[in-house]
């Protein structure tokens, strides 16, 4: 399988993805799945500036990513797939049952979200969507960079709930 990582990261293309993961995974291409970016040339130009010339950046909306997923995984090169948010990844996972692991790399604070760890903040509905993914057999973990510990979702949600109870 040539997609080594399915990552949710609201920054999409940035240092942790391109360098932090991209180099140790020997990444040749990144599939950026975002309906808003897939339809906007200016946004695509912006993100292209963020990857080195030897790395291909493929833009896809969710529908296209589902359709082309087999093509990505049959590619002889190594790749990473990144999505901006949980709903986007959930749609992708629903359409591609072969996706068995999802990495939470950066879901930052905004109104209505509760901090789960240093780089993951979740709204209740997002947490429910992740739980649904887990219940469908997908392994969901948080890990911002390769050198960090891979934290199972059950661990940081449980600890957050424990903190809430003890507060």
């Amino acid at each position: 399988m040539s997609l080594a990582l399915y990552r949710i990261d609201d920054r999409l293309i940035h240092g942790q993805v391109v360098v932090g993961w991209g180099q140790p995974l020997d990444t040749d291409f990144i599939v950026l799945v975002d309906d808003n970016v897939a339809c906007c040339d200016w946004e695509q130009d912006l993100y292209r500036m963020g990857v080195p010339p030897e790395m291909e950046l493929i833009f896809a909306d969710v529908t296209t990513a589902i359709r082309d997923h087999d093509k990505y995984t049959s590619d002889e090169r190594e790749g990473i797939l990144v999505a901006p948010d949980i709903p986007t990844m959930q749609r992708l996972v629903s359409g591609v049952p072969s996706i068995r692991e999802v990495n939470l790399g950066g879901i930052h604070h905004r109104a209505g979200r509760v901090q789960k760890n240093r780089y993951v903040f979740l709204a209740p509905e997002e947490e429910a969507q992740l739980r649904a993914m887990v219940e469908s057999g997908v392994k969901v973990t948080a890990q911002d960079v390769p050198g960090a510990r891979e934290v199972p979702m059950s661990e940081f949600i449980a600890s957050s709930e424990a903190e809430t109870r003890s507060a």
Partner: protein
């Protein structure tokens, strides 16, 4: 808010640029500029630590507006701070972005006080580029 300034950095000088990037990189570079030149106050350090893409852009936009600076140095060309500045440049083409900032570049910028911001940034970028070298290994 991740904008921060080392207490030891002289504040009396008006800021002329922002240094934005990962972790403590901005604070560290500005601290180093201050140690060498005593003019760390030329720069406002802004870290992207813990911020989403929209927040980085907001912090940088507010910082640039409130300090009236038009030059922003960033670390990685593909980093989130750089992408945020590129978005800002869409609305404000007068902004000047310098990626791959290093100490040599910032020091050159400090001493280009008489030049217009764009010229000073171009000169600083050239200085920073030539400072990067590898040697030895025999």
């Amino acid at each position: 808010m991740k904008s921060s300034t080392d207490d030891s950095v002289e504040k009396s000088e008006s800021p002329r640029a922002i240094v934005a990037g990962h972790g403590d990189f901005p604070d560290g570079l500005v601290s180093a500029v201050d140690q060498i030149s005593g003019r760390g106050g030329v720069f406002i350090p802004v870290s992207n630590r813990g911020l989403g893409a929209g927040d980085i852009e907001s912090v940088l936009t507010e910082t640039a507006a409130s300090s009236n600076v038009s030059v922003i140095f960033t670390d990685l060309p593909g980093g989130s701070a750089t992408l945020a500045v590129r978005r800002m440049m869409r609305a404000n083409p007068s902004l000047v972005l310098v990626t791959g900032a290093n100490l040599a570049a910032l020091l050159e910028f400090v001493f280009q006080a008489a030049a217009d911001p764009k010229s000073a940034a171009i000169t600083a970028a050239e200085k920073g580029r030539t400072a990067l070298a590898a040697s030895g290994g025999q």
